[in-house]
Symmetry: C2
Subunit: 410 residues, 2 copies
């Protein structure tokens, strides 16, 4: 059932997950942190996996991020990741740090691992201490498996206001070996990642050099997770972790490997798929919005402008209301510092051109309404000012966003 | 009825308006641009007034801004300002510029003024050409007066999605003469000014040096209009204009004048009052939010952090829902580049301390709920990292914001 062939080398594994690469197991249990929903999840690899990670740039990094960074710093390998939802363990001072270390130790003890091979993560309300009794009991119940049900258990356990699980899987042949990469993530609110997004996990059985993997993750993150926004708020807990356990038995991958491009394609497709799934499941969202800016002087500019447009509350509400209000798009571009020629801009919503050389173009309102009623809206901007381009993803802003956020905590 | 005495020198004139300073008249008429609502307004001074102005930093400045800048550049004086609502004349290319010049000429001809003494402004939908027949007929009907009704006519004519007129008036004695300053403005959506806000008009009969007035306006704008946000979107049309016609007969004011501080106080109070009125009347708003950041290393940092907090969709929705979710406040601070000590932050909502030295403080949820139910919410942050402070103003994010913006244009 390897259905969709995206490129010659990289194939989408439509029924795959982050447990499809060799040697990974997972679990998810109800520890009672969130009432009767799964709230503690675990990923574990048969062998220590080369690990790369990116974290939020928020100055108030949560306690588990500090502990995870310490773990990875030791030898660049991780064998188990434990995640709880319902409590972010952020802005919790000394006690928060102590609880994160304690959580790491409990998982290490249970699975007979060295402590520095365990990464910890939390998501949920800020400023509340972890309920350690519940965490302890939850960890005791963890019983990892490799079935699709085990994957779903983990995927459920990391959700907060998300409405769907996020998953994807791709494979490619490298050195004559099948290399598989899968991913899962969570995120629906406080989504405006800078360096990484709210909890993303990517597994692969590829054998990869750690430094090369870290650089690759950083580059790919800039164009995927960092290009989505739901509400412009950057979380204290954003983390994306890649675990590469080498069980595919290819030769060690780095930039000098002749098939490095194939691996980068795997990582790019996986990251983009997960990022778009988060944007689409933004709090209250009814539509996925994709903005592409072309003709920019450099790709940084293009990405910045695309993200500005997709993050504009006025653009988001117009898309929600299926209103072809392109004035809000051009206003968004203009408020960035990106290099533009104000007299040479084209704007199209889907196939419908609305601005040509910065002059309004006649278009059919009915046709525009019909297009905007769909659940995937593409916005194209051509600056005619260079050769670079960039994309960003977001969602519309609906009544339900207010409903969800006016009473999230209480 | 000079009721509220704010300081020794500057008094609030509670029944005053922008027509209280000597020598100003105004009008507002229905030209049919917005159906049966007033949509063209005029302010005119008996004599040419020294003029200072600040404009949007949006790279797509609307046509009327270009024409107004050209008018002021000629001799730094303006005698009449004409404003239409319902159509922003932004992103309208060559035709838009032609229409703005034509509007200026019609007003100059009608009131026998040189063209460069007329400023023009537009607000409303972007990307639509001015309906010049209606503009022409509207200008013909303008019949300026100095009554409170004439002030109200102008104030009505400049509104778009605003729900209330904005006005204020202050007076002080300078050189033994009573100097009066009044102001009015409009703005409710696309409010995230950078250099100025959506259409603000300040009149005064003070005699002021033009260069000193321009510098004063720029400085005061940084701390008032530029510190409000409704939705994070910076308009293409933002303009604040001060007209100082000198009819109070004080000696020319500049920084060397012994009572310059009094004039600065007048300008600061007027600008802050108007800015707060815009924030309070933000689209869909039910509450005014004021954020004060203290203990910062410099005031730029403090203002940036205050504006980040008040602009956070998550903070805004929490305030709407009267949820004391201070985690969203600290997360907002952390995502700025402002200098902080992550272990030394205090946060209070109104009188209720929620974070002390970055550790959660116990507080009464009931007391917090009671406070947050009010229509004025103050948030205090102390960084304990320096002596500088800064304020910002905004509003909550409600269902009505979505309602207003999902179908603004159509």
């Amino acid at each position: 059932m390897h259905a969709l062939s995206n490129t010659k080398e990289v194939r989408e594994v439509t029924d795959g997950s982050f447990l499809s690469p060799k040697g990974f197991k997972a679990a998810g249990v109800e520890a009672g942190i969130k009432g009767n929903k799964k709230d503690i999840g675990l990923i574990v690899s048969e062998v220590p996996a080369v690990c790369a990670a990116v974290y939020t740039t928020n100055q108030f990094q949560a306690a588990p991020l500090k502990v995870t960074q310490e773990s990875i710093a030791k030898e660049g390998r991780i064998q188990a990741v434990v995640v709880n939802s319902g409590c972010a363990n952020a802005c919790t001072g000394e006690q928060g740090l102590k609880d994160a270390y304690e959580t790491r130790k409990m998982v290490a003890d249970k699975f007979s691992l060295q402590e520095h091979l365990v990464a910890v993560a939390s998501t949920g309300v800020i400023g509340v201490n972890l309920p350690m009794e519940k965490i302890t009991k939850g960890i005791e119940q963890l019983n990892p498996g490799s079935s699709a049900a085990a994957a779903a258990d983990f995927q459920h356990a990391i959700l907060t206001t998300d409405t769907v699980m996020k998953t994807c899987c791709y494979s490619a042949v490298i050195d004559g070996k099948t290399v598989t990469m899968g991913g899962t993530c969570k995120g629906s609110g406080m989504i405006h990642p800078n360096m990484a997004t709210m909890l993303g996990y990517i597994t692969t059985d590829a054998l990869v050099d750690q430094a090369a993997l870290q650089l690759a993750l950083r580059n790919v993150t800039e164009k995927s997770f960092n290009q989505i926004t739901v509400d412009g708020d950057t979380s204290t807990n954003d983390t994306v972790i890649v675990l590469a356990n080498g069980m595919a038995e290819n030769k060690t991958l780095n930039a000098a490997h002749p098939e490095w491009d194939v691996f980068m394609e795997l990582l790019t497709k996986t990251s983009e798929s997960l990022a778009k799934q988060i944007a689409k499941d933004g709090e209250g969202a009814t539509k996925l919005i994709e903005v592409e800016v072309r003709g920019a002087q450099d790709s940084l500019d293009a990405r910045m402008m695309a993200k500005q447009i997709v993050g504009s509350s006025l653009v988001k509400t117009a898309v929600y209301g299926a209103d072809a209000n392109w004035g809000r798009i051009i206003s968004s571009i203009g408020q960035t510092k990106g290099a533009i020629n104000p007299a040479a801009v084209d704007i199209a919503i889907g196939p419908i051109v609305m601005l040509k050389n910065s002059e309004p173009a006649a278009f059919s309102e009915e046709e525009a309404l019909e297009y905007l009623k769909g659940d995937f809206v593409q916005i194209f901007v051509d600056l005619h000012n260079g050769d670079a381009s960039g994309k960003a993803w977001g969602c519309d802003l609906s009544y339900d966003y207010i409903k969800i956020n006016a009473s999230y905590r209480t």
